[in-house]
Amino acid sequence: MAKIEAEITNKKVGIFRKNKVVIEKLNTILIGSIIPILLITVWELLSRIGVFPSYQLPAPTTILNTIYEMGLDGTLWSHIGVTTYRVFAGFLIGTGIAVVLGSFIGFYQRAERLFDPLIQAFRSIPSLAWVPLFILWMGIGEPSKITMIAVGVFFPVYLNIVSGIHGVDRKLIEVGKMYGLSTFQLIRRIILPASLPSFLVGLRSGLGLGWMFVVAAELMGASQGLGFLLTFGQNMSQPDVILASIILFALIGKLTDWLLKLLEQRSLQWQDRIQD
């Protein structure tokens, strides 16, 4: 009886704690949004009374309206769709190559001595410098854009995989050896899970770079996409389109990063680190 009661109080305490956590979270969100809301209101007011000329800095409501209208006539979705497609294609290709090369070089020290200097040399070239060459080789179409994004994604993912594999605790590997695991089993049962956190960090920064590179790729010449909206707004002197595009980039970029973060939290529950 007493046990059951204790359990019930435990549960109550648990719920209470959860509520507390939720309230605290809401609090931080509230506090964090005071200044942005203030700024946007001031911006709106100043735009309305004509302090900011609308051909240079349109009011927030105008920008929202632009997005809304693009949404109505359907162009918004095709722009978002095209850009997202490019990022994901580049992200997948870049990640795929990074995984293959990174694991190979991480596991085999001889391969590292063979390949790593070359990769480090390539890394010191700012990736955007490749653009003219890619355009020359592949034209202005999709392949050159996706290749660029893939190059951007590749390096953070690759570097994190290699350092993740190198950073696996030798002591844990010994545990595996004590149970007579083969090299393949060691990789699957110890090295891969142990280097997963580092890999996921690489994925997130790779995705961030992917979004950066898609802007560059689309600025270079595109007939569709959020980056195209940037040049379009510039050429047509429509700052609301530019700002709308910027906002959309921010939102979608944040959304995809949040998805990866969710994946990270799901798969790394075991990690012993300070809870945020």
Binding site: L172, G180, P193, D272
Partner: protein, 270 residues
């Protein structure tokens, strides 16, 4: 190097050899095992014979090569000279008859307690679960199966580590200062648990420790390593029947013998 051989040494050597004469099969034999790192010897010319079911303590000050010796026995370290035989077969790799309990728990942080214990098991999942649950019960961790290593205290983590190495029922258990990081109470509990295990399975154990009381409480025989490179300087038999009284006079006498043996360290001329 001068080594004084005390009366106890001679007596104990004679006694340990008598085990051989009776025709008992040796579970573990080290013949002139030496190990150097980059030309610097860490242990030198170690001869050791361990009978089945014996608990042998390797005692010595820090840095005298106890861990190094244990790793050569385990097969984790194969860069030694000399011969190691397990069950009368030369063994120079990880042997499935040996289990290792490290100084740190070394649990895999992405596996929960149950999965960690099952890590070294092979076969059907139901059987593995059965064995793991059984052993977790006996180390007093029933109900903690789903916790992750980050949620365990040091003592609990080490229990899981012990469970993990016992669940495969190794014939020889190698322990490298397994309790040195634990508080005194947990330490005593786990020492008693180890004796329970021994009572049940007669597991041969090689226990590395720098804790004289621990060695005297657990071991049938205490081997004292000394110097750099580490060499065996003494062997003592602990005849007292188990369960031993931690404060008994006999043990106190042996302890003072061991202290004398370790004191030789200062008197010997390099």
């Amino acid at each position: 190097m001068v080594i004084k051989i005390t009366r106890t040494t001679i007596a104990s050597m004679a006694r340990s050899h008598s085990g051989l004469e009776s025709g008992e099969k040796m579970t573990l034999v080290l013949n002139k095992v030496s190990r150097s790192f980059d030309g610097v010897a860490a242990v030198k010319d170690v001869h050791l014979k361990v009978e089945k079911g014996e608990i042998v303590g390797l005692l010595g000050t820090s840095g005298c090569g106890k861990s190094t010796l244990l790793r050569t026995i385990s097969g984790l370290d194969t860069g030694y000279d000399g011969v190691i035989e397990i069950n009368e077969k030369t063994s120079k790799q990880v042997n499935e008859e040996t289990g290792f309990i490290f100084q740190e728990p070394r649990l895999l942080p992405w596996l929960n307690v149950l999965e960690n214990v099952m890590f070294g098991l092979e076969g059907k999942r139901a059987e593995k679960l059965d064995k793991a649950n059984h052993i977790l019960q006996s180390v007093g961790l029933a109900g903690k199966e789903n916790l992750y290593p980050k949620e365990l205290s040091g003592g609990m983590a080490q229990r899981v580590a012990i469970a993990r190495s016992l669940v495969t029922s190794p014939e020889i258990l190698l322990l490298d200062e397994p309790f040195s990081a634990l508080d005194a109470f947990t330490k005593m509990q786990l020492q008693d648990f180890l004796l329970d295990v021994w009572k049940k399975y007669h597991t041969t154990m090689i226990l590395v420790t720098h804790d004289i009381d621990e060695a005297l409480y657990l071991c049938d025989r205490v081997v004292i390593l000394r110097g750099q490179p580490g060499e065996i300087v003494e062997e003592l038999k602990v005849e007292e029947a188990r369960p031993r009284n931690r404060g008994s006079e006999q043990l106190a006498q042996l302890k003072s013998d061991i202290l004398t043996a370790l004191d030789l360290n200062k008197q010997s001329v390099y």
